[in-house]
Structures are given as C-alpha cells and as structure tokens.
C-alpha cells in the first residue's frame, strides 16, 4: 500500500543525483529490492513506470533487481547525455 511513497522517494533520490533540469533525460533508475523489504514489487514497478514516464521525467523506466533480504536501495540512474559535457 505504501509503494507510491517509496516510488516518490526513489524519484527524489534520482533528482538529487541528476539535478532537476536533467529529469526529462532520465532513461532508467536501477533498484535493488529484497524479498523481505515489505514491498510489493509489482506494485512498486507500476508506480515507478507511471512517475518516471511523465513530467518532470520523460520516458524513464525502473530496472528492479530482486534479491533476498531486506535491501531497498537505488543503485544507479541512467541519463541521456545532452552533449554539454
């Protein structure tokens, strides 16, 4: 039931790492989610697909690695280079 809160926190973490201006260029967000993290993974994936696929994001998608244990972390963010660096 709280997967949307979790998904919003994932988006906050992505924004911290790429900056608000680059959110529309995020292509993927990687997560590790343990089977004892208290998360319904399909539900989380659904929430993230909705959030990462709409403004201020563009066409990002979640890439979830399912693990054993209580892990719940963002492991990477992929972003299209805008050619400025």
């Amino acid at each position: 039931m709280h997967e949307l809160s979790i998904a919003l926190d994932v988006c906050r973490i992505a924004e911290e790492h790429v900056g608000a201006d680059a959110l529309s260029r995020v292509t993927a967000v990687g997560l590790d989610v343990g089977d004892r993290a208290g998360i319904e993974i399909d539900n989380l994936e659904f929430c993230l697909e909705a959030l990462l696929g709409s403004a201020p994001f563009g066409s990002g998608r979640p890439e979830i690695r399912r693990l054993e244990g209580e892990e719940l972390s963002v492991t990477y963010v992929e972003v299209e280079d805008d050619g400025s660096s």
Partner: protein, 227 residues
Amino acid sequence: MAVRRIDVREKVMAKNDELAAQVRDRLHTHGVPSLNLVSSPGSGKTSLLERTLDALGERLRMAVVTGDVQTQNDADRLAVRTDRLVQAVVTGGACHMDARQIFTALDEIDLGDTDLVFVENVGNLVCPASWDLGEDAKVVIFSVTEGEDKPLKYPRMFERSHFCVINKIDLLPYLPFDMDRAVGFAREVNPNLRFFFTSALTEEGMEDWYEFLIDLARAEGETRLEA
C-alpha cells in the same frame, strides 16, 4: 544519443531513517520513552489509550501523537481525557505515519515535562511496519475478534514489535478464539514478544499494562536523573 550511468547506492527511506534517528535522540536526551501503537483498524488502540489516560493520568505525564487517516475523531476522544499534550496528525489518507510527522509533532510537546510519549499509528498491519518513527518500541495490538492467525498473516509487523496486546478479552466467552494458538503463532514469528491480555472496555488485564508503563517511565526517568 549516449547514455551515462550514475552510480547511486542510496537506501530508499534514508531520509526517514535520518529523521527517526533525530526523533530518538530528542526523546532520549529528555529521558522520555516512546511507544508506537500499531494494529489493524478497530482493534482498540484509542480505547486502550483512553483507559490508560484515565487510570494513569495523575501518575504519568503522557503525550499522545495520533495518526487518524481522515478525521480528528481519535484526537478528540483522547483530548477530553487529558489536558496533556495531544497532537493530531491527520494523514490525509496515507497508510502509515512517517518520521517527519513525529519530528514536527515533538515541537508541540514539552519533553522536559513529559514522562511517556505514545504514537497512535494509522490502523494498518502492513505499511507502518516499514517506517521507523524514532520510537523505542512498537506495540502491536490485535483483538480476539480478528482471529488467531493474524501474526502469520502479517509477520513483519509482529517481527518488528517488542510487545503484543491481545485486546477485547471480555468477548472470549462468545468467540471460538483459541488464545494458546494465537500466542503460539505470535511466538512462532517473534519468540521475544512480551504479551498483555486486556479488555479496554472492562479493564480486565489492564493492571499488567499499567505496571509496565509505570516501570518504563520510571526506568527512563532514572536515566534522566543520572544524566
């Protein structure tokens, strides 16, 4: 166009855990113990608190942070029983409380003039298990009308709790509820749970609960005096 990968390795909910640690620090600095009451809706959390405030109000200075989902009802019920601190948090439909709400609520509580803080969480046996509020311990409450297998259906909540109140025991004569089975299931999930068997309606079994709270507040108070 080239795609760049940025390594992150950041725990989700780290911000919540950071705030929970700050809540815990503030409470410990003042030597105030805190209990997070969690349960399904209708198990009797508010009734348990009403009886507790009635019975111990003159002996303990108790503050309550309530997490009603959509109304002020729980806070209103408690407010008439104490002129002590009742800070309502209406979660606006959310399924859990988070540490930020408790952190903010503590601003309204004079911790130097408080012996014990209760958090009455949102009625939900799933989501609140995942959120550290900075409390010393979770107290999971379930009532005999809910069936013995609640601990097996919601193991995470029972795993994460230190104490278990089985409430509404006045109804036992009318129900096919097997107390030994219920306790066995809970111990299967968490062998370290301490139990209280109560009726917040008739006050049967409440003395054990009261003594526990007094001992808890006294132990923390002594820590405060030593500090």
